[in-house]
């Protein structure tokens, strides 16, 4: 499972650095010059609260031990969004609570420079097309807007940051998205890194005026590390780039992928430590991985995590606004009523939390924090040394951004992780503190072990040589399937995540496998299958192919990907949406295309 040693890493970094990059210091200076023409605007919320930035407000909340609440508004148009903000404010006023802030879910195209935006198909959410639109964001209602998605970290970072600040939005993100997201039809990775660095340096100029560089770790590489210690190390690294190299104040956010209450709490303590007890968090996201399609179950889940989150903020105030997720979110875009209901619910929980707090024991959470921070520091140290040694100018923000993105999470953790070495595990290590996704993967393996221990499964896969690969970043799915297939006696060759069809076909040829299993979740199943078949044909290899995961296909102008199971079957591919399907694929394997007599 170990894919590279330091020498390989060094070669990869050198290859990455063959790309011509501008001097990051000059880019920082460019940002500072641009900032001279910017004046932070005043939002209706700032007027109402008498502050000049959200950061100032947050510091007041910390001081007053007040809990801040966040909500997400995901309407399709700006008009609907503005109406929702107004209505939310009215409901809050009427019921006597403060709705502190709202995240506006904008169209992904907002990450593209304005000149490119309109050649690309629309997605969900509004776009802000004029300066007036931007100003309206801050004036629609006295709720402080949070500009998290598709701002900094994308090609339009500089222009979006400028306008957001002018509109009075002072918490802008999302650095984590820079590392794991792309905007449609954009391929210039250098420009993305440059614009990101430039925008952060603008935020740096306004650091003392309360500008907060938001980074939601679970929306970036944080979600893709197996060890919480690596996440902490990565947080240190982001802080270094944002604060040391570009002078801005970094505001870390987490929560969406953490379901263990001890860890949720623990991360707040840890972030406080990582930020030297001057942590000003943007928000703490609700637990999305535990959500089900059953709204009543979800209500219980929200109660559980909100209670913890509120009490943690009371114990360790970091300014993180808390998000009570509407119970319908896993099924549909929540309506205004559902958003309001969730907010109400949170305020009621706050009453309970205040009563319960004295009876709570945070020692587990604090122990967790201390462990991940200790590990994180070690990861950070190793990463800085390793990057330096591999030839990266760690003083150059553009180089750091560009190289770290190209390295990716798997290589980063493999090279700089701190868990004990264990070659049979993904990334070659035992996580010091396994994150919840990793633990859920392990639970999934245990839960399904009997399914694969079944004699029929053993007969189907036992002794077979299987090639496993993923079209996307979902390494966890590979980890689960690899372990389960091994229980049948199959020999599994795991090529890893983000493999292109040519790499998979080459893997089939070189490893002489008898079956290929491709895991896919990124809406490209059919296109991938067509190219894979061609790549295999060109190499004269033909073995049964199973596609597992979410078998759908995006079509440019459509928002929702389309199911393509039947189309895959027509191409001769065996679809397996579930682990049961995978076991049942045995019968298809027997009658499927036989291994070509080469």
């Amino acid at each position: 499972m170990v894919s590279m040693n330091f020498s390989d890493f060094q070669k990869r970094v050198r290859k990455i650095l063959e790309t011509e990059l501008p001097d990051g210091r000059l880019i920082r200076d460019e940002g500072s010059i641009l900032a001279r023409d910017i004046k932070i605007g005043r939002t209706a919320f700032m007027e109402k609260m008498g502050v000049t930035s959200e950061a100032e407000y947050k510091r007041q909340c910390i001081k007053d031990r007040r809990i801040m609440y966040h909500c997400h508004i995901g309407m399709n148009t700006w008009d609907e969004t503005a109406r929702a903000l107004k209505r939310l404010y009215q409901v809050a006023e009427y019921n006597g609570f403060v709705q502190d802030r709202a995240g506006i879910c904008l169209d992904r195209r907002m990450g593209l420079p304005e000149s490119h935006r309109f050649n690309v198909p629309a997605e969900t959410g509004p776009t802000l097309d004029s300066m007036q639109d931007w100003l309206d964001v801050g004036q629609a209602a006295p709720i402080q807007p949070h500009m998290g998605d598709f701002m900094i970290g994308f090609p339009a970072a500089t222009e979006n940051t400028t306008r957001a600040l002018q509109a009075g939005v002072t918490t802008i993100g999302n650095l984590s998205q820079y590392f794991s997201h792309e905007v449609p039809m954009w391929k210039d990775g250098v420009r993305t890194a440059v614009e990101t660095a430039k925008a952060i340096s603008i935020m740096g100029v306004f650091r003392d005026q309360g500008a907060l560089m938001h980074s939601y770790l679970d929306d970036g590489l944080g979600a893709l590390f197996f060890d919480c210690a690596t996440v902490a190390g990565w947080a240190y690294l982001e802080r270094y780039i944002v604060e040391e190299l570009l002078g801005a104040k970094l505001s870390h956010c987490m929560g969406g992928l953490i379901s263990d209450p001890v860890k949720r709490s623990g991360w707040v303590f840890a972030l406080d430590e990582i930020h030297d007890h001057d942590c000003i968090g943007s928000m703490f996201f609700g637990d999305t991985i535990s959500f089900t399609k059953n709204f009543d179950t979800n209500r219980g889940l929200v109660a559980e995590y909100m209670l913890w989150d509120i009490m943690t903020q009371m114990e360790c105030p970091t300014g993180h606004a808390l998000l009570s997720i509407p119970v319908t979110e896993a099924v549909r875009i929540p309506s205004l009523e559902e958003i309001v209901e969730a907010q109400f619910f949170a305020r009621r929980l706050e009453d309970v939390a205040r009563r319960l707090l004295p009876h709570f024991d945070f020692s587990g959470a604090k122990a967790f924090a201390s462990q991940v921070v200790r590990g994180g520091r070690e990861v950070y140290r190793k990463a800085m040394e390793g990057l330096n040694e591999a030839g990266v100018d760690t003083q150059d923000p553009v180089q750091m951004l560009y190289v770290l993105k190209r390295i990716g999470p798997a290589v980063f953790e493999e090279m700089f992780g701190v868990g004990d070495e264990e070659t049979s595990l993904p990334r070659g290590r035992v996580p010091q503190v396994a994150n919840d996704v990793f633990e859920k993967s392990r639970e999934c393996i245990e839960l399904n072990r009997s399914l694969f221990a079944d004699p029929e499964a053993q007969e189907t896969f036992g002794g077979l040589k299987v090639l496993l690969a993923s079209t996307d970043v979902h390494e966890h799915a590979l980890f689960v399937i690899e372990n389960l297939l091994r229980t049948t006696g199959a020999e599994v060759i795991n090529l890893g995540p983000e493999k292109n069809p040519d790499e998979v076909a080459e893997g089939v040829l070189v490893n002489r496998v008898q079956v290929v299993l491709v895991s896919t979740h990124n809406g490209m199943a059919l296109e991938y299958a067509k190219v894979l078949l061609a790549e295999m044909e060109e190499r004269d290899v033909q073995v049964p192919i199973i596609f597992g995961g979410v078998l759908n296909q995006k079509v440019d102008e459509e928002i929702m990907p389309v199911d393509v199971d039947e189309d895959l079957v027509r191409l001769g591919i065996i679809p397996a949406r579930t682990l049961e399907d995978l076991v049942n694929a045995g019968s298809s394997l027997c009658s499927g295309p036989a291994g070509k007599d080469r």
Binding site: P501, L509, R512, E537, R539, D540, V555
Partner: protein, 670 residues
Amino acid sequence: MTGRISSFILGIDAGGTFTDAVLVDSDNGHVVGAAKAPTTRASLDHGVSLAIEKLGRQIGWESLRQVRSVNLSTTLATNAIVEGSFSHTALILIGYTPNTFTLGKGDSLGASRLIHVDGGHDYYGNERKPFDEESLREKVIELRSQVEAFAVSGFYGVRNPSHEKRAREIIQELTGLPIVCGFELSSQLNSVKRATTAALNAALVPVIKDLLDSLTQSLLSFRITAPIMVVRGDGTLMSASWASVHPIETILSGPAASMMGALHLAESESATCFVVDMGGTTSDLARITDGKLDIRPEGASVGTFRTMVKAVDVRTIGLGGDSEIHLGRPGELFVGPRRVLPLCRAGMSKERMTSLLKDGDDDFKFPLFLLPGKGKLPPGHSTETRILEEVGDSGVSCEKVLQRFRDHKAVEAAIGFLQRTGCISVCGFTPTDALHVLGSLSLGDRALSLIGAERLATVFGAECAADFSKDVVSTVSRKLAEYLLIDCLSMEGVSEESLKDRLTDLLLCKLLDSDAKGSLCLRGSLSRPVLGVGAPTSAFCRVVESRLSGEVEVPPHSFVASAVGAAIGSRSLKQAVLVAPLSDKEHFRAHLPLGVKDFETLDEAISFACEKMKEHLGHNAQKVGIRDCEMQVRREDDRIVLKNGKELFFGTTLWFELNDRDFKENPDCC
């Protein structure tokens, strides 16, 4: 030549056993004359000369000298591949995974030397690695004195031929030897088959050139100066000069010509049929749909080689008129796969035959005997020498030979060797003998067949020689019918692997055996008529007809069907070109044999491809021997319509085709 352009075409088929020559009148398609001569394996043109000589004597030299074209179908390339008797070549593989050919069984590509060079392209035709010209130069210089030709195949060379073309320039500059590139022979994906095709083609260049040169000389000796055309594996024709550069295209030209000849000769008006061509050793089964041979989409296989050649989809069965009949338990008889000399052609007295068949005990199952041949045994073969001593001048039964030696396996091997070297003939009872016994065929001495049938009938448990012979005919016919059924099922997409189960076996029995017992009775009928080719086919096909209802016809002159098929062929040139979106989906690339070019719209790319291919094919058409005729373009879009009605587009294949025919029976053609 007289003033009028001759309407006669000379068709020649240089087959494995016989060489046939026919003269066909292209005005009406009639066979004016036909002649047969034994094939001379050592030099095919000698057999061709003999056949032409016979034909000339039969129809008069005047008509023969005025032919407008001499069309040849030949098994030379196929035989050379199967026997491995081709020239030394080097195969240059550009950008292939170095161990591709050592990992599997595909390590024999038909080339004596494999050279790996860095380079190659990807799925989209983008360069995957720069082409390592220097390394190629070094290797070519090292090899140029050791090989007779070069073949070049690039990874994804069909998506971008630039590296193959550059390699050709370099080899040309350094050697002057014949070179063939993979992209010139196929436009399909599969780098292994393209490499095999290129390598075999290169290896066959000297072989086919020798044949065509000597044939030209032979024709000149008869004062025949008409251009030579050669039949391809898909039944179409190409000029001799094109064939000498693309000899691989001649593989399976014999069966292809035979099938097309059968269709031409048939009285049945259906242009969609099965054709069964029964020879001495094997039978070929193929399909014709709307007047065109069904082509094997994955390319023709010859021996252990899988190629990209678009040739007739022929199913070859180890069942022929001269297949050996041997017995199992009482009531059980087997046919083939060994080819033997039928008893009726043993050329001996009845007394001698009777005496030979008396050897052995009453339950002998291999009624074979060995007759002396003309071949000379090379020194150093002791077992073979001892067997030859047993054979003597008048022959010996196999039973007797086996009794003399302990190691029966060694004897079998030695007999095989002696047979191949022509030192002996193995003679035995065959389906041809059964037909002689029943009076359905009279090519040899029926009395000798009858002696064999009587002897075998006793062991088999049949009442008389005729009953036994009927059982033989029935068994052969059943096998033919079974293969027809399997072929029908394979057309429906059923794999042969999946037919190998008990239920399928049972259902086939129910369908084919009229006396099958049980409560289920199945009857099948064929949706297209069956044309039979070859002397013994007629009788067997009649029995097939009784098992599977359908029309069966053995056309007149079918004994020279291949030569007729050669004569009536059309000159043709086909090429496919892919136009596909690039990974950004904003540009479209035309993957032309001339190189790649990108466009912003699909229509622009298609227009460009059509324009360039018109020039390219127009130029090649002259080389193939095609005169003025319009290029046909067929467009095939690769699209998938998703559940929501939206489409995913993967590319457009443009099929360009030029067809030029001497025959007037289909005035619509070109």
